[in-house]
């Protein structure tokens, strides 16, 4: 499909211009102005609308396709949350307004949303306080690691290492490294953390552990209490990667289980759509040990019920975001939580885990499942058998696209060969799950009868198999 630049017609005037009496060059000396106009599209509004509408048709989204992308929790995003996030009273609000003396009165509704969402997240995770500032899950991880560093530095602890199991999310080690820690990786045993392996690396240098629980194999870390004790015994801290919270919502409160820091992905568990890769929102919750270090500003409620921004926290790590986080995303999560309420949230985890186990069970005789036991919200299958026939996980993924399903996550986690990580979520119907199974079984039977046909997939998407090696080599990154 042509790019937007190819639609440009010289001399066509774009629809959105301002009437203005003077030219920029009359107001500024030539040496401060650019030499020519930027070479941007000159299009009619209909040109633009048609182009983007055509682009949108070349995309899979949850509204049109099953999206069993493991670790991504692609559930249905209710429509009313879009409506509330678009309310003018929220969208037109300048973030600096409450920072001006006397103007906080004009932002009470927005501050209330932040305050109450923090309270709700505390209740949902068993933590004592939250910051909503982190703008994505990995940003939350970085914030969490920085909070851990601040805690140790305040106590005068000389701790330089963070332990990350090989079954944790890939961002965990990079977040710890970027916060200034050395990363110590430990190998899992039977898909979960091996307390013995852990005990060998825990020492006085241990600042903490970053855990994904359930982990990226979809398994709950059954030695959790032992791990908590071991880490706390050296004054280490436990970080809970909450990207997989959908699995345990209301079933286990990470704060009560012994975690000191938690991040959540509001766009996953709380159904704020992820916009083809962002924006997200990655709030971080802490227990009272770590609360003094949270980023500023923080929203507090005065005795008269008014909300205001407080900056008076001498031990704060500082500013993680320019303002209060991705407010538009928070609004959607806040509305979603209010709509579901206690019972609704409990049912989320129950049905998410139910659908994952149902798929696992229906697929177990067709795909190798390395840790084939009760899983949480997702499970990892392996196409090792198929790979021996020359058909790899990526080929199966592409063949699923032809059936109208988005593919599972492939080649992640790195510890399973040829893996396909499946997360169906609670909002997909049984009919959809069954259709997915039937389609996958059909693909797997073709691996036996006609493997070449699978390797040629996808055939019915807007383009066929794309050459990733060529893309990296030719580096055409703009046009």
């Amino acid at each position: 499909m042509k790019t937007i630049f190819a639609h440009t017609v010289e001399g066509r005037v774009s629809p959105h211009t301002c009437e203005c009496g003077s030219q920029p060059e009359q107001m500024l000396p030539a040496e401060l102005c650019r030499s020519g106009q930027p070479d941007l599209p000159r299009l009619s509004e209909l040109d633009v609308v048609r182009h983007f509408t055509k682009l949108s048709r070349r995309n899979f989204g949850v509204d049109a396709n099953f999206y069993p992308l493991g670790s991504c929790t692609m559930k249905y995003n209710p429509k009313f949350t879009e409506q509330v996030a678009a309310l003018q009273g929220f969208t037109e609000l300048h973030p600096l307004l409450p920072q001006l003396r006397g103007a906080g009165l004009y932002t009470q509704g927005a501050l209330q949303v932040i305050y109450e969402l923090e309270e709700l997240l505390c209740a949902i995770t068993g933590m004592d306080a939250y910051t909503l500032q982190p703008m994505a899950g990995a940003h939350g991880e970085l914030t969490g690691a920085m909070l851990m560093a601040a805690y140790h530095s305040k106590k005068g602890n000389d701790k330089t290492q963070i332990i990350v199991p090989d079954s944790a999310h890939g961002t965990n080690p990079s977040s710890a490294a970027i916060a200034g820690f050395d990363v110590v990786t430990i190998k899992s045993r039977d898909g979960i953390i091996d307390p013995e392996a852990l005990s060998k690396v825990v020492n006085d240098r241990t600042a903490g552990i970053m855990m994904t629980c359930p982990n990226t194999l979809g398994l709950f870390e059954t030695h959790l209490s032992e791990i908590v004790e071991m880490i706390h015994s050296v004054d280490g801290l436990l970080y809970y990667d909450g990207a997989n919270l959908n699995a345990i919502l209301g079933k286990m409160l990470p704060g009560k289980a012994g975690f000191d820091v938690v991040h959540l992905n509001l766009h996953k568990t709380f159904a704020a759509p992820h916009g083809s890769g962002g924006p997200g929102s990655g709030p971080v919750g802490v227990n009272s040990k770590l609360e003094p270090f949270l980023p500023v500003s923080r929203v507090v409620r005065l005795e008269d019920g008014q909300f205001f921004l407080n900056y008076d926290y001498p031990d704060t790590i500082g500013y993680i975001a320019p303002f209060y986080g991705n407010f538009g995303v928070m609004l959607k999560a806040y509305a979603y939580i209010l709509r579901l309420g206690r019972e609704g949230l409990l049912r989320v985890s129950e049905n998410a885990v139910l659908s994952a186990n149902y798929l696992r069970k229906r697929l177990e005789s067709h795909l190798h499942i390395p840790h084939n036991r009760i899983c949480m919200h997702e499970f990892v299958a392996s196409a090792v058998k198929q790979a021996r026939k020359g058909v790899r996980a990526v080929d199966i993924a592409k063949a699923l696209l032809d059936k109208g399903h988005y593919a599972p996550t492939v080649y992640f986690p790195l510890i399973v060969q040829e893996c396909l990580m499946v997360e169906p979520t609670e909002t997909e119907s049984l009919e959809t799950l069954d259709q997915f199974v039937d389609d996958l079984i059909d693909i797997l039977s073709r691996v036996e009868s006609d493997p070449e046909s699978v390797k040629q997939a996808p055939r019915f998407t807007p383009v066929e198999r794309l050459d990733e090696v060529l893309a990296a080599r030719s580096m055409q990154l703009c046009g």
């Binding site: 300048h94 129950e350 703009c478």
Partner: protein
């Protein structure tokens, strides 16, 4: 059960398939002492009740104020077509385009976004966005640190102070040396900046227009940086970029921006858009996602995420950055905005703000004791000196429905009598007239 489709009977069938008797058994791996009955969340509401509650909260925020507040975040008109396009659910309900063939819409849009940002900034490459303008500066700094293997960073104090706070926070544990060179009356101290450049510096960070609204040409400074092997980073205001000398023309190495002004609502601070562009040489240091053009097996053009070997899912603790999400939808929004305004529209929007700022300057300076902070060239934002404390002025004007600007004393001690005022096409001469008279009344008594 909102949004959960299973009937009781279906749940039963599913449990039987799994070989379990109850839902509870699904959670058998969570040890019972950890199974918490506490879950103190209120009962659910209907959709109607929830929407009503949110409408009420929205109504508690006043949007009727006449505002001249900018400070890096600007209230521009957003054409209706922008949200109509971004609200297509094929875009907003999709995830990161891991399967390129099923995500050509998002991928091509991001490729076009990258191209647009390169054209606007006059730079070679762009990534597919980072969180915001502040994280863009931080990531640019880290690119420079990796490229030069040096640890000193020179920052001009007239870059947005909100971002300065973020940079300090992000680098606290990284053994980097941030040297902030003080501004003088709202202008960068070019001589001191140049003097600070040496072969131990990784990066130099400046902003144009700067935080005080002043427009500068950094060509000479960047040339001095280059002579010392220092990476030049410039943060810009994208709307003004349709008029101003480009980062490319000044020979910057990395140009970044807060993209909020390109069709994104202020929305109380987010989501916003971190724009990052760089010269050819630095592309392998660029963090985040990058979309590249390629071909399918039949030779048709298509797009994929590329250069992923730098990223966290492959390199884990050795990754270029930990960025996983970006701001794809916001990037799409900015692209749609740029396409709908075009180069002429964007230039006219920049010119309108500048024209109103000049009109305001002439009116406001007729108030006794009000003067320009200095005589340098400015764009759509201007700094004035008042004969009183700016905070006091604000607290008397806000109850009358006017937010005259941002008090500079909040970030710059000693500038308590200075006010920073921004103008966009949403303001009018009439509003500026009313503002002037109200201000005159307070100042002249």
């Amino acid at each position: 059960m909102p949004y959960i489709p299973y009937t009781r009977q279906q749940q039963q069938i599913m449990l039987e398939t799994i070989g379990l008797r109850s839902m509870d058994e699904l959670f058998q791996d969570i040890p019972s002492p950890l199974r918490s009955p506490e879950f103190d969340v209120p009962r659910g509401k209907s959709e109607m009740q929830t929407v009503e509650h949110l409408r009420h909260l929205a109504s508690l925020n006043s949007t009727g104020l006449k505002s001249f507040l900018g400070a890096g975040f600007y209230d521009h008109y957003i054409p209706a077509a922008v949200s109509a396009l971004v609200n297509r659910s094929e875009f907003y309900t999709a995830y990161t385009p891991y399967q390129a063939e099923a995500s050509q819409g998002s991928l091509q849009a991001l490729f076009e976004y990258q191209s647009t940002m390169c054209r606007l900034m006059d730079m070679d490459y762009a990534n597919a966005s980072v969180y915001d303008g502040g994280t863009a500066i931080y990531e640019a700094m880290m690119m420079a640190v990796r490229q030069t293997k040096r640890r000193k960073i020179i920052i001009s104090e007239d870059i947005n102070p909100i971002y300065q706070s973020m940079l300090k926070c992000y680098t606290k544990n990284l053994h980097l040396e941030l040297i902030v060179v003080a501004q003088k009356d709202g202008l960068p101290d070019l001589e001191t900046l140049q003097g600070a450049l040496d072969d131990s510096c990784a990066a130099l960070v400046v902003q144009n227009p700067n935080f005080f609204g002043y427009i500068l040409d950094y060509s000479d400074l960047f040339s001095a940086a280059r002579d010392n092997g220092v990476v030049s980073i410039i943060s810009v205001y994208p709307i003004m970029q349709s008029v101003l000398k480009t980062p490319g023309e000044m020979k910057a190495d990395i140009a970044v921006a807060e993209g909020q002004s390109l069709g994104l609502p202020l929305s109380f601070g987010g989501p916003y858009l971190g724009i990052m562009t760089c010269i050819r040489k630095l592309i392998r240091q660029m963090p985040g996602r990058v979309v590249g053009r390629t071909q399918d097996v039949k030779g048709r053009e298509g797009y994929v995420l590329t250069l992923q070997a730098r990223e966290q899912h492959i390199r884990r603790e050795k990754a270029t950055s930990n960025i996983c999400s970006n701001q794809s939808l916001c990037a799409l929004q900015a692209l749609a905005y740029v396409c709908l305004t075009g180069p002429d529209g964007m230039r006219s929007i920049a010119a309108k703000g500048m024209e109103l700022a000049r009109y305001a300057a002439s009116r406001l300076c007729s108030i006794q004791g009000v003067e320009m902070l200095n005589q340098a060239f400015y764009g759509n934002e201007l700094a004035i000196k008042l004969p009183m404390n700016a905070y006091d002025l604000l607290s008397r004007m806000i109850p009358q429905g006017f937010v005259p600007g941002f008090p500079l004393g909040r970030y710059y001690p000693g500038m308590e009598d200075c006010l920073l005022m921004a103008f966009t096409e949403k303001n009018s001469q009439q509003d500026i007239g009313m503002l002037t008279e109200l201000m005159r009344g307070i100042i002249e008594g």
